[in-house]
């Protein structure tokens, strides 16, 4: 079924739905650049950029609350049904994931500041860069799939999370080996490990966004491995 959110008899309802979708996608854009900045701050030991990431965090929290409020008002005033209801539900769920991605970006920024203070880690930056490229692509693709109501693209992006998880485990094993060889580096390598962990979590949240694309378009809840709920795929 095609998605049309601009054909309600009530023009205000069209605008309300369009507006929460736009708010969510704007928030997505902010979060995506926050992740990019956090990773750059870590890779370049740039504590100034890291501070900027921490600062944006407040704005993202504020936007999540505003979005929730708008969604609640739409439910109260319009009692949305079917695809409209799924739109409202998916937007609020995605907003929560975006806020958490923002939290993870802040954690990475804090590690960047710690590494600037304690001296850079001897290992792990290659892995960080590698995984960061993958999860940033996942996040952008997920938001893009939402914009275009594109289930096929969402499913393809969702599948990429498996590779991210695998790369993460490989990186952790390597870094553990390194710490055993050189115990003096442990505190610095652990900062990198935490950042890797945050990136891996961002991949999970991007996957959640993809699941909401499927929910919005197909009405199927495929969270927690229930992909069989999506028929004909």
């Amino acid at each position: 079924m095609e998605m049309h959110f601009d054909q309600h008899i009530s023009r205000q309802f069209n605008e309300d739905l369009e507006s929460i979708k736009t708010e969510m996608l704007e928030m997505g854009g902010m979060v995506a650049s926050q992740v990019a900045d956090a990773v750059d701050a870590l890779a370049n030991a740039d504590s100034e950029l890291a501070e900027k990431v921490l600062h944006i965090e407040e704005e993202i929290d504020r936007r999540e609350m505003a979005l929730d409020e708008h969604a609640t008002l739409i439910i109260a005033k319009r009692q949305p049904a079917a695809s409209d209801l799924r739109m409202v539900m998916s937007v609020t769920r995605i907003a929560r994931d975006l806020e958490r991605i923002g939290d993870e970006a802040s954690k990475i920024a804090k590690m960047a500041i710690a590494l600037t203070d304690e001296g850079t880690s001897p290992r792990g930056y290659t892995e960080i860069r590698h995984i960061a490229i993958a999860v940033r692509k996942m996040l952008n693709d997920a938001l893009d799939a939402y914009t275009r109501f594109d289930v096929a693209s969402a499913m393809a992006t969702l599948a990429e999370d498996e590779q991210v998880d695998m790369d993460y485990r490989t990186a952790v094993r390597e870094l553990i080996t390194y710490m055993m060889e050189d115990p003096r580096s442990i505190s610095r390598v652990i900062n990198v490990l935490w950042s890797l962990r945050s990136l891996e979590r961002i991949g999970d949240h991007a996957k959640n966004i993809c699941e909401q694309v499927v929910y919005l378009v197909e009405g199927a809840d495929i969270r927690h491995g229930h992909q069989k709920n999506l028929k004909n795929f």
């Binding site: 095609e2 049309h4 049904a81 695809s83 799924r86 009405g219």
Partner: protein, 292 residues
């Protein structure tokens, strides 16, 4: 011509003959087959390939639907879609409309509703009806409820009638409000109370099926909530078909929802499915308030 029909309890409902305009044929989204789950295992009412005509004009096109035991089926759709016409076929309320012709199989417990030997008076005792506007008789509250059992010979002695009246009023959730003024006119009650009185009157003759044609459209939200609560309780003992313009009401009270469009049954599905993920785009357009 203003014809009158009598339902189970003999209550009168003026029937305006439907206008005989030709329907616009919707070519873009022509409905061929009902999607979803029109049938069920324990059907109380079974309708197959029902066509209804008002003279030349066809009001219902090839509708097949089951209404199960202890089930509430909501019928929704825009004005003129045929949902009320279809509902009124189920206890032959359309019989007295001149030029109205019903074709197809309609069965109550596998017995044909339109069989040659069927007497509509006992049929309407088994299939009761509640209308959009509360229409109590201009008689006492007691007489309103006792009338049906009396004319159907269900009870004649005062003690039996007393019991039926009290039971029916209790089940309709009205007893506590009227027990001290049973001899007062039913027309003196508030709109919501009158509607519950009509429901009490309908269930006084122990029907098996209750048809409701927009029973809450003239009521305030509190009276509506009471009726909806009542529908939920009545479901334990009865089969209920309800026509409503309130989508939220359909979502709240029914187990399955049927969407009618230009005389076609477009979709029947579990109510949860219809309101979260309808299968047909016409259903989606209607329940979300889009241009159809």
């Amino acid at each position: 011509m203003n014809t009158m029909t009598l339902d189970a309890t003999g209550q009168a409902e003026p029937v305006q003959p439907k206008p005989l305009e030709k329907e616009a044929v919707d070519t873009k989204t022509k409905v061929r087959e009902t999607v979803g789950k029109p049938f069920c295992d324990s059907a109380k009412l079974r309708m197959r390939n029902v066509n209804v005509f008002y003279g030349e004009a066809q009001a219902i096109h090839d509708v097949s639907l089951d209404i199960g035991r202890n089930e509430v089926v909501a019928m929704i759709g825009p004005s003129g879609c045929g949902k009320s016409t279809f509902l009124r076929c189920l206890n032959r309320m359309n019989d007295t409309i001149e030029g109205c012709r019903v074709e197809g199989e309609l069965a109550l417990d596998d017995e044909p509703i339109y069989g040659p030997k069927v007497d509509v008076v006992p049929l309407r005792a088994r299939v009761g009806m509640v209308f959009q506007k509360p229409n109590p008789f201009p008689k006492s509250i007691y007489e309103n409820v006792a009338y049906g059992p009396k004319i159907h010979g269900i009870a004649s002695r005062r003690a039996e009638l007393d019991e039926i009246v009290e039971n029916s009023l209790r089940r309709a959730g009205l007893w506590n409000e009227v027990k001290d003024r049973l001899d007062k006119p039913g027309t003196g009650l508030s709109g919501g109370q009158q509607q519950r009185l009509c429901i009490a009157r309908a269930i006084a003759v122990s029907p098996e099926v209750i048809l409701m044609d927009e029973p809450c459209s003239a009521l305030d939200p509190i009276a509506t909530a009471r009726i909806e609560e009542l529908i939920d309780e009545l479901r334990e003992n009865y089969t209920i078909a309800i026509v409503t313009h309130s989508m939220q009401q359909a979502a709240r009270v029914s187990q399955r929802t049927a969407y009618f469009h230009l005389g076609h049954l477009v979709e029947v599905n579990d109510t949860e499915t219809v309101f979260t993920n309808p299968q047909h785009e016409l259903t989606e357009a209607y329940i979300t308030g889009r241009f159809g």
